[in-house]
């Protein structure tokens, strides 16, 4: 039998799903969107169960709700298990009243039964069963009690009759409409037609419009609101008869929030928490684990190399396995310890309920940029490494906000970009190298703000300016849940990012090891990559002031890992791989001899903002949901980088040659800013202005 698991966010749905399936769920992606669908088999049976996204209603307004509705209509589950948070019954039963209108067997799992007594709530489930017309079971997904009763119930025939919940007029209209329908889920569709749900307009006709008009005469508002009100009054009435509760004055969560949301100490506490997360995942602890894995991978590569040589494999085959595959895959594996720590931190922040508070702290600020308060976390993590940063965007619920954040996270200089900065800044700006390095961070922040501003008004126009989100209570996290959560995310990373990296690393290895004559083991200068570099070096002309194939090849190699830019430059200059001395790399006679300070700054800017490394590209592909959208994002990032680097060089080289002095520059900048403001303001007016803004009545 096919079973769907439906419930509010935060209702313990995933915990119940994991228990029912014995944690053997297959994770797949819903087509077109990045919301995950999980399907598994209930242990001990042949029932296939699908975990639907957490929703509050089956309205047509959010992707999650649309997916759930589509699943119920197209995949036709035989049974719906509706998980209900018993501690907030009123809101949870709203979804139940909608599910009960479907032609499906509905079983209600009253979760968190273990908490009821503590809260002084008593629920009479037999009475509730009678009032709702659906089987009700008290369970605790966390303590794993009561669940077997549900499994037994799945096979039984439903012997309860559905109740009518609306007032007489509406019930009559529903009956009239449903009599003319021939489809399944008649009652559900009839209610949707009354609500003027756009997804069902194919069933609409003049007769229904007349029924609606007639009905609306009895009330002073539209039917959408009336039906929602009617559902809630039914729930209130039911609750009064089935539930007894004590008045709670101040909960533990209220007390904790007095500290964590305090006007004065909320931000200092946040800084401490963020520091801990950063310190553990990308700081000292995280980077030492990365080094450890890297060392072991090197040793492993050497061992495999010698073994293959002994077995008589030819040079190129050994190199393919060692330098191509193992080095490439090693780059992915290197991230894993870091990712585990990061996901652990994030999972703890989420399950304890602190994440929702972080969103509250920064929401106002980030909303102005079309992102969410939670976007701050990926950016902070991204300053260590873009890969966990991009994967950290998962915490953002809104799809547009999530995607925008994942595209902008790589703009923050990650730790792998530091060698590039220290090489160029150290050699070309000598005494000012500190200021120059810092200036790049400010530059990055400004670019992120501007990009966010533009993206949220063009590509991601539908980003809502409102914030409506449940504030969950603080909870002690469950070790089992956290472990499963971290495990799932890490496996997903290995699968997706791993395959992208593997393919790309092999391609780069091939281009670097062979000449166009298919000769193996040539000097880097004769390799295919160098030939390509020479052909496309004109792309870099506007930012370097010369055709420099060495810089081009290094930038391409930066795709594998950004720290490779420096080692690649060292190799091209004919030095050992680990040379990081500017005086040697930029010495006369090397391909980099002609680079000026302006070109150096421009090249840094290009490497900072251009396509991130394959690891981050893989993570972006996963978060954006398709290769096409990932390529678009990479193109956006690279074009930004090219334009910015060109501007930097063109202005910088003119300052160097004395064509522009500082006074002129200030004037030019002022003109550019004024022009930009005019264009942006025009651009916004030209857009759909009023239509885009949901609060029009104040302006009129």
């Amino acid at each position: 039998m096919k079973i769907a698991l439906v419930g509010n966010q935060n209702s313990g749905k995933t915990t119940l799903f994991n228990y029912l399936t014995g944690m053997n769920a297959k994770i797949g992606n819903w087509p077109g969107v990045t919301i995950e669908k999980k399907t598994g088999t209930i242990k001990g049976t042949k029932h296939e169960i699908t975990d639907l996204p957490g929703i509050y209603s089956l309205s047509p307004y959010s992707i999650e709700e649309e997916i759930s509705r589509k699943f119920v209509f197209d995949d036709k589950p035989d049974v719906i298990i509706n998980i209900v948070d018993a501690t907030s019954l009123e809101r949870s039963l709203y979804l139940t009243t909608q599910l009960m209108e479907l032609d499906c067997k509905v079983i209600i799992a009253l979760n968190m039964a273990d908490l009821l007594e503590k809260r002084g709530i008593a629920i009479d489930e037999k009475k509730l069963e009678e009032k709702l017309g659906a089987k009700v079971f008290k369970i605790s997904a966390l303590k794993e009690t009561g669940i077997d009763e549900i499994i037994k119930e799945i096979d039984k025939k439903e012997d309860l009759t559905r109740v009518k919940i609306y007032d007489e007029n509406i019930e009559k209209s529903i009956e009239k409409i449903s009599n003319d329908l021939s489809k399944e889920h008649k009652r559900f569709i009839s209610v949707k037609l009354l609500e003027s749900d756009a997804r069902f307009k194919e069933y609409n006709n003049d007769a229904i419009d007349n029924i609606k008009k007639e009905l609306e005469k009895n009330y002073d508002t539209d039917l959408e609101e009336i039906i929602a009100s009617e559902r809630y009054s039914f729930i209130e009435k039911t609750k009064k008869e089935c539930v007894k509760e004590k008045e709670v004055v101040e909960t533990i969560s209220d007390k904790l929030d007095k500290v964590f949301l305090n006007k004065w100490i909320a931000f200092p506490i946040f800084v401490v928490v963020m520091f801990l997360v950063y310190f553990l995942s990308v700081g000292v602890v995280g980077s030492s684990t990365v080094d450890w894995v890297a060392d072991n991978m090197d040793a492993f590569g050497e061992w495999v190399g010698t073994s293959l040589e002994n077995a008589g494999a030819s040079d190129w085959a050994v190199s393919l396995v060692v330098d191509g595959i193992i080095a490439g895959v090693g780059a992915v594996l290197g991230f894993i310890p870091q990712l585990i720590i990061l996901f652990l931190c994030i999972s703890l922040l989420e399950t304890t309920g602190y994440m929702s508070r972080i969103a509250l702290l920064f929401d106002k600020l980030f909303r102005k940029l079309g992102m969410s308060g939670k976007s701050l976390i990926p950016f902070i993590v991204g300053s260590g490494c873009s890969v966990p940063g991009i994967m950290g965007t998962r915490i953002i619920e809104n799809q547009d906000e999530r995607e925008m954040t994942s595209i902008l996270v790589p703009f923050i200089p990650c730790s792998a970009k530091l060698p590039i900065i220290s090489l160029f800044a150290g050699y070309f700006f000598d005494k000012n190298s500190g200021i120059v390095s810092a200036s790049l961070y400010f530059f990055a922040i400004i670019v992120i703000i501007i990009s966010a501003f533009i993206l949220s008004r063009t590509k991601f126009k539908h980003v809502s300016s409102s914030y409506i989100s449940e504030l969950p209570e603080y909870k002690v996290p469950s070790a089992k849940y956290v472990a499963k959560d971290v495990f799932d995310k890490v496996i997903a990373f290995i699968k997706r990012a791993g395959t992208v990296i593997l393919v790309c690393s092999i391609v780069i290895w091939f281009l670097l090891s062979f000449s166009f004559g298919m000769e193996y083991g040539v000097d880097i200068e004769d390799s295919m990559l160098a030939s390509i570099g020479k052909t496309v070096s004109w792309v870099f002309y506007p930012m370097l002031g010369q055709n420099n194939w060495g810089a081009t090849v290094s930038a391409i190699q930066g795709l594998v890992a950004k720290e490779q830019v420096v080692s690649s430059m060292a190799v091209i200059a004919g030095l050992a791989e680990d040379v990081e001395e500017g005086s040697e790399i930029f010495a006369d006679g090397t391909p980099f001899a002609g680079i000026t300070a302006a070109a150096a700054y421009a090249f840094m800017v290009f490497n900072l903002f251009s396509a991130p490394c394959f690891g981050a590209i893989g993570a972006m592909q996963r978060e954006l949901g398709s290769t096409k959208r990932m390529l678009k994002a990479v193109l956006f990032q690279t074009s930004c980088a090219w334009i910015l680097a060109t501007i930097v060089y063109q202005i910088g080289s003119r300052i160097e040659s004395g064509a522009i002095n500082w006074a002129n520059l200030v004037i030019i900048l002022a003109i550019v800013i004024v022009l930009a403001c005019i264009i942006v303001s025009k651009f916004i007016k030209k857009g759909d202005g009023c239509a885009r803004c949901p609060y029009c009545n104040n302006c009129k």
Partner: protein, 76 residues
């Protein structure tokens, strides 16, 4: 009076939702902000926006700009 004007601890009854944006209005209706519902201002973010309100035995955070569209009468 609008919900955005209330202070922490005050209780009010919802009179009307003035949203032009149907999506937000529907979402709030689904979350239980129907006419006649009693709400209490529980907490505010340190910068004063969004605001956390209690209704129907749970807590919901809503941005101030949205609360400006909700007409209420103060009970306490």
């Amino acid at each position: 009076m609008f919900l955005s004007e209330l202070n922490v601890g005050q209780k009010a009854r919802i009179l009307k939702l003035n949203f032009e944006n149907k999506e937000i209005r529907r979402h709030l209706l689904d979350m239980g902000l129907t006419r006649g519902t009693e709400v209490e201002i529980k907490k505010k973010a340190p910068v004063g926006d969004p605001i956390d309100i209690k209704l129907r035995d749970y807590e919901l955070c809503i941005s101030k700009s949205d609360l400006k569209q909700i007409e209420v009468e103060v009970i306490k």
